[in-house]
Subunit: 355 residues, 2 copies
């Protein structure tokens, strides 16, 4: 694959000079234009936008979140806005740019300019292009959450020589058929809105439906009370919250990007037997989108050494965003303890309850 | 309340003369026009449509299902179409019109002519009007499933002198806040369709969303495989099934009726402490719409004697329609064993696993 690269902004200051700002570390954004062979849609010229934080000499860790996440994982001096995983990124945190060079990118398709079927395997290949552009031969780890975990597994299967360790949080080797049905109906909501050129209305409904899959009945029972009659209609207690979720999402998301990335989740299909790098599998017992049985199946079938950590969380699939201390502990453990090769490929899986 | 009544059709033959037809029993349909004080929408003149099957001398059992059910519970000589609970109704079945006089009605609002907030308590009062019209003073039992169970509890709280026993299957004293959120989004799908004068499209989506709440991930995992790429789009394996569910539902359901009955579920609120008739609570462990914790809470708080039966089912909330043998056993037990008053109102609940 050919590529052209452009650096948007670079800072190489290393002194920590500003009051409460994070210790200054080099951070850079850039983009690379590559010709990428998509699995279902032919070869396309695409622009990949990345962000890197940490010295080039440090071991590199690729970080990827859900389909709504982006290249800005955590704030830095150069890019001071809060990142989507702010609680885990920064000096003294689990993903510390003074110890690792953190790399992330905007998902292929996330800018809404690619109206094509996008396979999670395509994302893995795109990430390999980003690493080429950055001259990173090998990742110390690929930390992925949700869709990012799916792509991490694809990367491990397709670019085995380029990474030492996968940390797959709340994502598995397949999309569960029930979760796929749930997402298909979200896409239908967007399509229904599009029929009347009101895509944002449809996208808001899709997001609200997605929220129900990310969270748990237990959380809603704690937060929300009984329905009320308002102006001749029944309004349930969660509707204000759901309105907020919908409005916030439509303000920053292209309906086409949502459609294509939502579809992409449903194409996830990696044979775990093709993965022979060490894998840390993090599963949440209350996750209604990625049933824990799928995570355990993944862990049992991968060929590399495996560690399974099971969390309990009222927040279900969103635990990776909400259970800050438990996720920090998982990440610290995963990045500081080398997984030993298993005695045999069929040795029992050690399941650890996370702190 | 005043009422006028009209009998649509009556048969009083008692001989079983036709090959495999059910033993002939009297069956009749009728309607009664009443003035009904709605809890949230003032007094309205409404038409209530009922069906009765079984001799007038037999003890009466009122039968009610989900919001999509109607007065035709099971087939008879007079009304030969299959009813919505055909497996449970008929000679030799759990609900046997040779042993009980079975009464059912079309939900208030189900014909789409009542554009008002309908409380489950209104349904209970409407049922009392139907019983008045039929000169039924007292029910041997009120067997309700899903929304029908909610209404049965309302009937017990509001018309205590008119029934001996409630059988509440997969329905509780409150709507769970998470399930309410799920239904609110279904109503938003109908509203989104209505904005573009395509209510049936919106209603189909709402029904498909409802189906996901009625069933379980475990069933989908057994039935459906991986997604496929079809004509440049991802199509998940459950979409054919969901299309079928949507089309079937929109062919027979008024969008307004769906909106108002769906809302009604979310208004369910009965203090269990106000119920002092015997109650059989039937809960399904896999039910994602009516969490078993709510059913157990109900059983612990009612003042009358209580029996709890817990089923396991791959079909979740739809178990009352799908687990024919287990539900038949539950009904046979409930209708043939008198519940003894508890020693105290706080005695421990005996939980029985159903066959």
């Amino acid at each position: 694959m050919s590529f052209a690269s452009h650096l948007e902004k670079t800072t190489h200051s290393t002194a920590s000079s500003i009051g409460h700002a994070p210790a200054a570390v080099p951070a850079q954004r850039g983009e690379v234009v590559v010709s990428l062979a998509l699995r279902h849609a032919g070869t396309r010229i695409v622009t990949l936008r990345y962000e890197v934080c940490g010295d080039a000499e440090l071991p590199a860790v690729f970080v990827a979140g859900g389909i709504s996440a982006n290249r800005h994982v955590g704030s830095s001096e150069a890019f001071a806005d809060a990142g989507w995983w702010e609680a885990q990124v920064g000096a003294g945190r689990a993903l510390d740019p003074r110890r690792h060079r953190l790399v992330a990118f905007d998902w292929l398709g996330s800018d809404g300019s690619l109206d094509a079927v996008i396979d999670p395997a395509d994302q893995a290949d795109a990430i390999a292009c980003v690493l080429d552009a950055l001259r990173i031969e090998r990742l110390e780890a690929f930390v992925g959450c949700s869709y990012g975990a799916m792509v991490a597994l694809q990367f491990a299967a397709r670019h085995r020589a380029r990474l030492n360790h996968v940390v797959a949080i709340s994502g598995a080797h397949r999309a569960h058929p029930f979760s796929s049905a749930w997402r298909a109906l979200q896409r239908r909501a967007v399509a229904l809105g599009a029929l009347q050129c009101d895509e944002s209305h449809g996208l808001a409904l899709a997001r609200q439906l997605a929220i129900l899959s990310y969270r748990t009945p237990e959380e809603f029972a704690e937060r929300f009370d009984a329905a009320q009659v308002v102006d001749g209609r029944v309004r349930v207690a969660a509707e204000d919250y759901l309105d907020h979720c919908g409005a916030q999402y439509t303000a920053r998301t292209s309906p086409l990007a949502f459609q294509r990335l939502s579809e992409s989740i449903d194409l996830q299909s990696v044979a775990p037997e093709c993965i022979d790098v060490p894998v840390t599998v993090v599963a949440v017992q209350e996750d209604r989108l990625v049933p824990i049985a799928d995570s355990l199946d993944l862990a049992q079938r991968v060929r590399g050494p495996t560690r399974v950590q099971v969390l309990r969380s009222l927040f279900g699939h969103d635990a990776f965003l909400k259970e800050e201390a438990a996720i920090a502990a998982v990440l610290n453990h995963a990045l500081n303890h080398t997984l030993q090769p298993a005695a045999t490929s069929h040795s029992p899986i050690a399941i650890e309850a996370a702190a």
